[in-house]
């Protein structure tokens, strides 16, 4: 394996080499890093063969796009996931380019931001403690306690806390330039964490890596994907059966 690993996964050896650790002979400390439950198992919902979403002109690709249609609930860093990243990028990119070409002569004026978090606060501007919010999101999404042993009570508390953060950003967040990019990233992390939590609350069963200590058994009646969305109010609903069947 030593010679071939460098060939097929060139990113694996360098950190060890730079650290002076022999990957194949030495022992080194390891740590389990939480990726949450989202990787490869969720994302913007794709509605057509062009990777289009329910927002006109918005095409989803790679990790940002849902890929259940290609992989089911299987996650991972290679194989069909890599193929999906490449193909969805090409499909979405081509579709976006075609759309832009078609609209080329109809575009007038500057683009208008439709988002409001960090751009148009509902109330007075206050400084937002981004690091504290991101630390909360990280803890509630990735800590062992929250990701491995979910319960209705705990998820409810998480959602209440994240709702508070979302309101704080929406009511008081404002920034410009690269600071706005950072603030929008914090808002996106918070929104995504609320969607994950709401979906976990709605799934009253344990299935795959979603483990509810208060509902440890798999419920055959819950064998349908959940859709989630919303900003000021988060919603979830089962994916329509017809859509699920069409995908199979």
């Amino acid at each position: 394996m030593p010679p071939i690993l460098k060939d097929i996964q060139p990113f694996t050896p360098p950190p060890f080499v730079r650290k002076g650790v022999d990957l194949f002979r030495d022992r080194w400390p390891i740590k389990l890093f939480g990726e949450g439950t989202i990787r490869g198992n969720g994302g913007l919902r794709i509605l057509d063969e062009n990777c289009g979403t329910n927002v006109a002109g918005l095409y989803a690709a790679g990790d940002a796009a849902t890929r259940e249609l290609a992989t089911g609930a299987v996650s991972g860093g290679g194989a069909v996931n890599s193929a999906w990243a490449l193909t969805s990028g090409q499909i979405a990119g081509a579709a976006a380019a075609r759309r832009s070409l078609a609209l080329r002569d109809k575009m007038v004026g500057a683009a208008r931001a439709v988002g409001s978090a960090g751009i148009a606060p509902a109330s007075d501007e206050r400084s937002i403690d981004r690091k504290a919010i991101e630390a909360d999101v990280d803890h509630h999404m990735n800590s062992y306690q929250h990701s491995l042993w979910r319960s209705r009570t705990q998820l409810g508390d998480t959602l209440a806390l994240l709702d508070t953060h979302w309101r704080m950003i929406g009511d008081h967040g404002w920034a410009q330039g690269s600071r706005l990019v950072a603030l929008r990233e914090t808002a996106a992390l918070t929104a995504t964490a609320r969607w994950c939590t709401a979906a976990a609350l709605a799934r009253n069963e344990s299935r795959g890596i979603h483990v509810r200590v208060d509902a440890p058994a798999l419920d055959p009646a819950c064998g349908v994907r959940l859709l989630t969305g919303g900003l000021d109010r988060v919603w979830t609903r089962p994916e329509r059966r017809a859509y699920a069947e069409a995908a199979e």
């Binding site: 060939d7 996964q9 950190p15």
Partner: protein, 129 residues
């Protein structure tokens, strides 16, 4: 975390500033500036895009590293990740096609681990074979 930018090697293209997903770098006077080191997540993206091989990222994602530039220069690490990926020269990266051998390799690793656990369970001594 990113540890050093070699000013004499840097060609000032500032591509690293643009590709960094966490905005660690700022455009500088000729050479980029490490402006927000605490945001570096050690993804090596800047190294991949640096055609001048002027960047070095330390392997620890949580601790800033002070390095000896001369030692890094002599180590051969500069640019290796970019070259091994054929990042800007895909025709030199035919070795990546051997990726399909990863499955059997992982299988082999699993079998090796299972053997070692059996040895340990039987009261034997663990050996890294």
């Amino acid at each position: 975390m990113i540890a050093h930018i070699f000013e004499d090697l840097c060609n000032g293209c500032h591509r690293c500033v643009a590709v960094c997903p966490t905005h660690v770098l700022d455009v500088g006077d000729g050479t980029p500036v490490i402006a927000r080191l605490d945001q570096c997540q050690t993804c090596y993206m800047c190294e991949l895009y640096c055609e001048a091989d002027a960047l070095y990222v330390g392997p620890d994602a949580h601790v800033a590293e002070s390095v000896d530039p001369q030692a890094i220069r002599a180590s051969g690490h500069l640019g290796r990740i970019r070259r091994d990926h054929g990042w800007d020269r895909p025709d030199e990266a035919g070795h990546l096609d051997r990726y399909r051998l990863l499955g059997p390799l992982l299988q082999e690793g699993g079998e090796t681990a299972a053997r070692r656990y059996r040895t340990l369970a039987a009261g034997g001594t663990d050996t890294a074979d």
